[in-house]
Symmetry: C2
Amino acid sequence: MTTTLAAGADLFERHREKLDKAREAIRTRAYYSAFPESPSGRIYGETAAADGKAAFDARLAKPFALEQPSSGEAAASERSPYGIALGVRYPAADVDALLAAARTAGEAWGAASVETRTGVALEALARLNARSFEIGHAVMHTTGQAFVMAFQAGGPHAQDRALEAVAYAYDEMSRVPASVVWEKPAKPEPLRVKKTYAIVPRGIDLTIGCSTFPTWNAYPGIFASLVTGNAVIVKPHPQAVLPLAITVEILQGVLRESGFDPKIVQLAVDTAEKPLAKVLAQRPEIALIDYTGSTEFGDWIEQNSRALVYTEKAGVNSVVIDSTGDVKGMIRNLAMSLSLYSGQMCTTPQNLFVPQDGITAGDERLTFDEVVAALVKGIDGLLGDPERAAGVLGAIATDGTLRRIDEENAKPGVVRASAPLTNPEFPDARVRSPLVAVVDAADRERYDREAFGPIAFVVRTADTDESLRLATSEAQRRGAITAIVYSTSEDVLAKAERWARDGKVNLAVNLTGSLLVNQSAAFSDYHVTGGNPAGNASLTDAAFVANRFRIVETRTPVA
Amino acid sequence: MTTTLAAGADLFERHREKLDKAREAIRTRAYYSAFPESPSGRIYGETAAADGKAAFDARLAKPFALEQPSSGEAAASERSPYGIALGVRYPAADVDALLAAARTAGEAWGAASVETRTGVALEALARLNARSFEIGHAVMHTTGQAFVMAFQAGGPHAQDRALEAVAYAYDEMSRVPASVVWEKPAKPEPLRVKKTYAIVPRGIDLTIGCSTFPTWNAYPGIFASLVTGNAVIVKPHPQAVLPLAITVEILQGVLRESGFDPKIVQLAVDTAEKPLAKVLAQRPEIALIDYTGSTEFGDWIEQNSRALVYTEKAGVNSVVIDSTGDVKGMIRNLAMSLSLYSGQMCTTPQNLFVPQDGITAGDERLTFDEVVAALVKGIDGLLGDPERAAGVLGAIATDGTLRRIDEENAKPGVVRASAPLTNPEFPDARVRSPLVAVVDAADRERYDREAFGPIAFVVRTADTDESLRLATSEAQRRGAITAIVYSTSEDVLAKAERWARDGKVNLAVNLTGSLLVNQSAAFSDYHVTGGNPAGNASLTDAAFVANRFRIVETRTPVA
C-alpha cells in the first residue's frame, strides 16, 4: 500500500488549531463552528454546489465500491421520499468476514498513537466537509429532508458534532500521561518506579444508523470510537445508506493513504427483510454499540447485548404553555418547530399542554380555543407559500409515518388535518402538512405515546400544575429529548426547572425568536440527557467517550 | 434536625487543599497520600491504637444502631478468622423501605451543590481516617488480614482510594460550567442564549462489598456515587459487615450534622441463607451498581441488572519467569507476594510459568527444578519465624478457601503443601501457609481456572514464548488483574508488553525489591483495567465516575 498522505501525526498538526478551538469551546460552552453551515459559493467555492449535485447523480443506479469483504451485491433498498429513483447497490454484508477483517485491521490502528488516530479523523472531517453538497443530496434523498436542512444537518452540523466527539475523546486520552517516574519517600532511599500508561481500545464498535439523520446521529459514535482506537462497523438504516456509504468511503480513503488498512471502517448493509442489527449486536467481537432508532429496538439492544451500549431512542416531547408576553412570537416559533422536516426530528414537540381556562398573553387573556386557533393559523400561514412549505416540510421518510398520519387524520379532535402538498420541484415527493388534534388530559392513550411524524396534540389540562405534572411523568416513563415552557411567572418557570430535573430533559424557556427547540449546537448543547427512556447517552459528554478505551499500565522499578 | 456541623460548602473549603493535591497527583500520577499509612503514635496520637481497639471491643456482641428503616434485628453472621466471637447484630434490611427512604433522602442530596456534597464526603473521609484503628480491627476480624495490613489497606489506603474517586468525580463535574451566555453571530444582531447546566444524579447506587477488602474495594463506588448526588445502599458481604457498618455510621453522622437526611447512605445486611444482592440488583430504583466479588455472580449482575454496573471480579494472575539478574530478589519478592494475606488478594499471582529448560540467573543457569526449589525455600524462609509468619499470612477468611486448600494438598505435583500454623496471639486463628504445586503446561484443567487462596502453580512450559502465550490467553479468557515478567532480554520484555496489551492486564517488570505486584497506589496505579473478564471497570479512571451523573440544560434566549 502506498502512503501518499502525510502520516497521522502530521495530519494532527495540520488540523490542530481546529481541535484546540473545539476543546476550548467545550470548556466554555461558547459558540463555535469549525465547518461553515452556509452553503454559499463564497465559502465552499463557486462550483461546489453543482459539483456536489453531479457527484450525487453519478452515484445513482450503480454499484458502490468499498474496500471490504462482501458476499456479493445487495439489492438496492433506498427509495427517495422525493420520488426519484436511487438504485445504488452496495456490497452485501458477510458478517463473519467483516468482523474478522475489522479485528485484523484494528490491530495496527489500536497500536497507533493518539495523535495519529486523531489526525486521521480530523483529515477525514475536512474531506467530509468538502463533500458536503454531495452528502447533502444523499441525505435529502434518503431522509426526505429539504436540501438546506440536509446540507446543514447532514454536512457541517454533523461534522461539528463529530469534531466535538473527537475533541472530548482526545481530551480524555491526553489527560493520561504516557509515562512517569513515581517516587515514594522511603528510608534509606525513595522507591522509584517507572510507570507507563498505554491507551488501548475496547475492540470493535457497531454503529447503527437511523433513517432521519444518518450522519448527524452516527458521526459522534463513529469518530469517538475511531480516535480511541476501535475499528468500526457502520450498519446504516436500509432506507438511508448512501450518506454513510460516502462517509465510509472517505474514511477508508484517508486510512489507506495514511498507511492503514481501510477495513478499520466498514459498512454492513442489510435490508428490512433480512436485518443484521440483532445478529451483529449479539456477536462477542462487538465491544461497543452506538445506536439511534426506535425505542423498542434500542431497549432490546440495551438488554441483550454484552457490549457497552450508547443509545438515542425516541421520546414524547412536551410544551407547557402557561402565559406569554409575545403570543405572536410563540406561535411563530411553535409553528416552525412543528413543521420543520414534517415533525420527523427526535427533538420535535408532540404534546402542547394548555390550561382549559386559557392563558395570559401580554395584557389580554386567550381562551383555550383561541390558543388552538392561533396555532393552526400560524402553521397555515407558514405553509401558505408552496415553495417555502416545501423548504420547511421536506418529505415523509417512511411508509410507517404515512400510515400513522392517515390513522390520526381519521380520529376525533383533529383541528388541522394533515394534507398532501405539492413540491414544485419534485412532483412525486410525498409531502404532508402537520396535523393538530385537541385532546383532553384524560385521553392518555391517544397522546401519551410517541406519534412520530407531523402529528401534534394540544392537551387540555386543568391548569399549568397539571400540565407540568403530565409532562414530567411523560418524560420519566416515555422519555423526552426536548421540553419547552412558556410563562411570564417566575414561580412557573421554577416549577418547569423541576420538570426538567425530575424528567431529566433539556428545557427551553420562552422561545419566541429564531432559536428552535429542535436545534442543538455542537460544543454547547447536550443532545439527549441520557437520564430518561429516550436514551442512555448524551451527545456529547465525558461519559460518551471515556469508556471507549482502557488504560494498561506497566510498572518497572528504577534502580 | 440540628445542624451542628459547618455547611457542606464550608467543609469543602476546609478540605480543599487535600482535594486539590489529589487532583494534581491524578494529573501527574505522582506519589501522593492524604492519609498516613503508618500507625504510629506520632501521627495518629499516643492513645489512638488503644482507643481504636477499645472502640472495636465495645462493638462486640451488641446491636449496631443506624438511622434507617429495618424489619428487626438480623442474626449475627460474622465469624472472626482469628477465632474470637464478634456477635454484632445489625438492622435487618427491609428492601422496600430502604429503597423508599433512599429515594426520599436523595432528593435534597441530589439538589445540593457539587461543593456541598464534596465537602461532606471529604469530612467523612477525615473522620474515617481518625477511626482507622477501630476500622482496622473490624477489617482484621472479618477478613483475616493481619492487623498492620488491615489498618493500612482497610484504613488510610482505602481512604486514599476514596479521595481519588472524589477527586475524579469533582473534576468531571466541575468541568461543566454552571451557566454561560452563548452568542452566535447573526444579522442584524447576534443570537444570545443563556444556558444553565445542572448536574443531576442517576438515582440510587447499590454497592456490593466483598469478604476480603470490604472498605478498600467499596469506597471508590460509594464516594463517587455520593459526590455525584446519588443515594447509596451498601450491601456488605455477610462475613464482612462491621467495617462497612462503621463507615455508614460515620457517613450518616456527617450527613445529619450537615443538615441532610442520614438515610442518603444505608446498610442492607443479608445472610448467606437469605441473600439480598439479586433482589436489590433487579429493582428498577437501582440506577448504579458497584460490585466486588466472585466472577460468577459478577457476570450474573452484568447480564441481569438494568443498572449501570461497575464490576471487579476475579482473575488468574500470572508470572512469566524467563531470566533474571537477581534471583535472590526475585524469589524474595515472589515469596512475599504469594504469602501476603495467604494469597487472598485479587492481585496475588497464581500461575508462575517457567521454561522446562530452566532460566538464566545472572552468570549461571538454573534448572526448572532449581527454580522451584528456590521458590519453596524462599517461602519457607519467610515464614520460618512464627510471629513474622502470622503478620504476613493473616488468617483464612472463608470455609470455601479452607476446603480448596485441602483438596489441592491431596493432588499430585505438590512440592510445598499448605500447612496449618499457629498464631502466637490468637490460638484459634485458622492460618495456612502457601501451597506450591508443579504442573505441566498441558495440565490446563488444573491451573487454568481461579484457585483462590494460598495456592500457586509453577507451570512447566516449552519456552518463554509458550509462557507468554498461555498467560495472554488466560488473561483474555479468565481475566487477570496483575501480571509480572522477569527477564533480562529486551525482546522478551517487548513481548511481555504485548501480553499486557492483548490481555488488557497491568504488568510489573522485574520486581526484586520492596514493590509487590499485589500493591497498587492511589492516584497513580489503575487497579483492574476493566478490559478483560476480571472486571469491567477500573479504580479509578474517568469512565468510573463520568456516567454517575447526567447534565440537564436549560436554554433561555436573552433579549
